[in-house]
């Protein structure tokens, strides 16, 4: 007969205000097998856990149900606590009275009864729990960082400096990300490339870092400590070992009118190109879509010019499979395109640009060498309107969230413009100024007070072209909604930060959760911000939510610390929630009939065929056997098995049917 203890937590008022915990504890005393049932204000507190341990010893409990918050929150806490009192941690289960009951229902008898029901279900489960022991698995001490922006570079450097190998995968031809496109950074106005490029070089030269640029993650198998990642190295059409980065091929390429992605379409590049002069690695790629040779079969000028014979027109994509212990996602963001705004002309006016295009106009390495020239006619804009919250905090645009960086970069843009065009006029339309951060508000004040940027609180309803001017129709809500009309030469939209292209696809490849906007979901919004729900996969930067540079770098170092911590273990322990095929004495051996339907259902190739042989070597039967190192415990094989020969530890048929019997 089981001796089960039930511990009902009030969680302060969180459960206690809605559920009558004392009554629940009393009701639980009536459940057969429950020998001890109490309620307490904070079960997870030190005295709470101690009380539980004393009760386990005093009442010789062999199973425990903690009725408190979600097991996703505190199951490890209470399993550790019960194991401290000498019983197997897997003899402890949690009933979710908080997230699934007290927080979602009104106070009353029905809610209290539901709480008792939830406990009853788990008590029946615990009666059928078996002591389990964690599975030990080795750790591959190599990390993979996906995304080579400032966040990814920081993660890679921190892990590499911690003494571990890192593979840094970047989809574009160079690392550097969005930060390499920026002109100056807020709130210090230091040059973005000047602070970033040394980091890029450091990452490239670090003995522990392997760069894989122009590469994308194609497939991820395995689990924490033991991932197998397949990376597609896209064909640069170039032998990187031979290329010296002299740039002759780029100079001689006849195809010079291709819209330049790095300059956000404001400049041009050649078909064989490096994205920007400080690119790391400084090796060109051939853009097959625009290369004359791939279009017409003739040209090959670059091949003729190359002094080292490095061009390889026939080169194909290469798939590389790597053993990886931990993965950090740092894939960044994208900006909403200006064509999402019908009210501002669907991106058709050349002089209505987005924030990133303004960065390129202001950048010394940009298409205008940092001189303020508007895109349409190259004239110096005398009046510039900046519109914050273009798309952000706008449900109609599908972006109800704040993009976080726009208030600051808009102030920076207005300031940079005023520094370059002293006589110019800068207007900013804003909803609120959100400048929380070290020296941030001071920075905005500086734009307003020293640089005389005119801030207007209100929205812009329409922009249209008239006599070569952009007519900006807005309202000043601090003047009672007074209409404001500004004749501008250029308009800069601070468009919304969105999750990067294909981020949902990547999340599905890695089996991590993502929110409805495509941002990757952290394991806990407050306490586990750099982890995902998939063990061994971590997050850094704007792939999780809109972030600025300091936050991205801080989160990157946080993720790196998690990886280094993980790699400090000789081996990892894994939850013993794995499937097993039953085995019996000869001549039955097992109820498994060897149909191997399970093999087809298993997503992890964890099911092997095991031959049972007689003494003379004759094969008597072939049975399924589950490799506990590969099994992840989904239980799909269990439901597939016709003869119920497979069961899942921790969620066995006995346990689940016992739970059902309480209904």
């Amino acid at each position: 007969m089981s001796r089960i203890g039930v511990f009902t937590c009030h969680c302060g008022e969180n459960i206690g205000a809605t559920v009558d915990c004392a009554k629940v504890a009393e009701m639980c005393r009536a459940i057969p097998g429950v020998v001890h049932s109490v309620d307490y204000k904070y079960m997870c507190s030190d005295p709470g856990q101690r009380m539980m341990q004393e009760a386990i010893r005093e009442h010789q409990l062999d199973g425990v149900v903690v009725a408190a918050c979600s097991p996703r929150m505190h199951e490890p806490t209470f399993r550790r606590a019960v194991s401290g009192a000498g019983i197997n941690p897997y003899m402890c289960e949690m009933a979710n009275l908080r997230e699934h009951c007290s927080w979602v229902h009104e106070k009353g008898e029905a809610t209290t009864n539901k709480a008792a029901d939830l406990i009853r279900v788990l008590v029946e489960k615990v009666k059928h729990n078996e002591p389990l022991h964690p599975i030990k698995v080795p750790v591959t001490r190599t990390a993979m960082v996906i995304g080579g922006g400032v966040g990814g570079i920081q993660v890679a450097l921190d892990i590499a400096n911690g003494g571990h190998k890192v593979v840094l995968v970047e989809k574009s031809p160079s690392i550097g990300g969005h930060m390499s496109q920026l002109s100056e950074t807020f709130p210090t106005l230091d040059c973005s490339q000047c602070i970033l490029t040394p980091r890029m070089v450091e990452a490239a030269q670090h003995p522990n870092i392997t760069l894989m640029t122009y590469s994308e993650v194609e497939k991820v198998d395995g689990f924490i400590g033991n991932f197998k990642v397949t990376v597609r190295k896209k064909a640069r059409k170039l032998d990187e070992k031979l290329c010296t980065g002299c740039g002759l091929c780029i100079q001689k390429c006849p195809n010079k009118k291709i819209s330049d992605e790095f300059n956000e379409g404001l400049g041009t590049r050649t078909a064989i190109y490096v994205p920007f002069p400080q690119a790391v690695p400084n090796k060109p790629v051939i853009d097959m879509k625009n290369c004359t040779f791939y279009k017409t079969g003739k040209c090959k000028v670059c091949e003729k010019m190359c002094p080292t014979g490095a061009i390889r027109f026939e080169q194909e994509d290469e798939l590389v499979t790597l053993d990886i212990g931990a993965i950090v996602l740092a894939t960044g963001f994208k900006l909403m395109k200006t064509d999402a705004f019908p009210e501002y002309g669907y991106g058709k006016h050349k002089d209505i640009i987005d924030g990133m295009q303004f960065e390129r106009l202001a950048s010394a390495s940009g298409p205008t060498s940092g001189v303020m020239k508007r895109p349409s006619d190259g004239k110096e804009p005398k009046t510039v309107v900046f519109i914050a919250c273009s798309g952000s905090r706008d449900r109609a645009k599908g972006v109800p969230y704040c993009s976080k960086i726009c208030c600051m970069y808009t102030a920076k843009h207005a300031m940079l413009y005023k520094h370059k065009v002293h006589s110019g006029k800068a207007y900013v339309f804003y909803m609120d100024i959100r400048a929380a951060g070290k020296d941030y508000d001071e920075f905005v004040r500086r734009a307003i007070e020293e640089d005389e940027v005119k801030y207007i609180r209100g929205r812009v309803s329409r922009i249209y072209e008239e006599d070569g001017k952009l007519i900006v129709m807005g309202a000043d809500t601090l003047m009672g909604g007074e209409p404001v009309v500004i004749k501008a030469d250029m308009v800069v939209l601070a468009t919304a930060v969105q999750s990067n292209d294909r981020s949902e696809e990547l999340a599905q490849t890695l089996h991590v959760s993502y929110d409805s906007y495509g941002f990757f979901a952290e394991a806990h919004p407050k306490l586990r911000p750099v982890e995902t729900n998939t063990a061994g996969i971590f997050l850094a930067g704007a792939c999780q939510a809109p972030r600025d540079i300091p936050e991205t770098v801080a989160q990157a170092s946080g993720a790196a610390a998690k990886v280094v911590g993980l790699f400090s273990n000789e081996e990892l322990t894994r939850e013993p929630i794995v499937a097993v095929v039953n085995r019996q004495a000869a001549p039955v051996y097992s109820t498994c009939t060897g149909c191997f339907l399970c093999q087809g259902a298993c997503p992890y190739q964890a099911i092997e065929q095991e031959e049972i042989k007689a003494r003379d070597g004759q094969i008597l039967m072939t049975l399924a056997r589950i490799n506990p190192g590969l099994c992840q415990g989904c239980g799909t094989c269990v439901a597939t098995c016709r003869t119920k020969a497979i069961d899942l530890q921790g969620f066995s048929n006995e346990q689940l049917y016992a739970e059902l019997m309480t209904l």
Binding site: S70, P71, R72, M73, N96, R98, E99, H100, C101, W103, V104, H105, E106, A110, T111, K114, D117, L118, V121, A507, Q508, H511, S513, Y514, D515, S516, A521, N533, T534, I577, A601, P603, Y604, Q632, G633, C634, G635, T636, V638, A639, T640, L648, F651, N653, L656, Y657, E659, L660, M661, L663
Partner: protein, 145 residues
């Protein structure tokens, strides 16, 4: 006036999407009807539909089966197996004369706290309108365990 019938709803949910989604409903303090009792399994692929029948037999008036959206399964493909089995199970139940308005198959992700509340309320209202599900229990008979 007769007291309102309160149906028993049993929900089979996966640990990674719907259970987490239901946790989010709680964290967001979105209220829903208290008739549902959740049974947590690692993945919808783990669900043997015999369990659903057992729940109906043991007194459930309505059933929810919910896991990760297609493509989002924590275990790659468990939800596809669940869906495939569900299609067969549904056909078989229809032939057997089980009222399929009693059993709802759905997807709720870890980010869809509000969707979980909506699903529970919809199912609860529907099953309440249908009344107690005695037909199944009569057919199966009291002696079968």
């Amino acid at each position: 006036m007769a007291e309102q019938f309160e149906p028993k709803i049993t929900a089979f949910v996966c640990n990674w999407c719907t259970y987490a989604g239901a946790d989010l409903t709680g964290t967001s303090r979105i209220k829903y009807q208290s008739n549902v009792r959740v049974l947590r399994v690692p993945c919808t692929g783990r669900i043997d539909y015999m369990m659903v029948l057992k729940a109906l037999h043991k007194g459930a008036d309505g059933i929810i089966v919910s896991g990760c959206h297609p493509n989002d399964c924590h275990y790659t493909s468990g939800n596809y197996h669940a869906r495939r089995r569900w299609m067969v199970f549904k056909k078989m139940m229809e032939v057997m004369g089980v009222d399929m308005r009693r059993i709802t198959f759905s997807w709720v992700s870890a980010a869809e706290g509000a969707r979980w509340a909506q699903l529970v309320n919809e199912v609860t209202d529907q099953v309440r309108a249908l009344g107690p599900y005695t037909a199944f229990r009569q057919v199966v008979g009291a002696g079968v365990e």
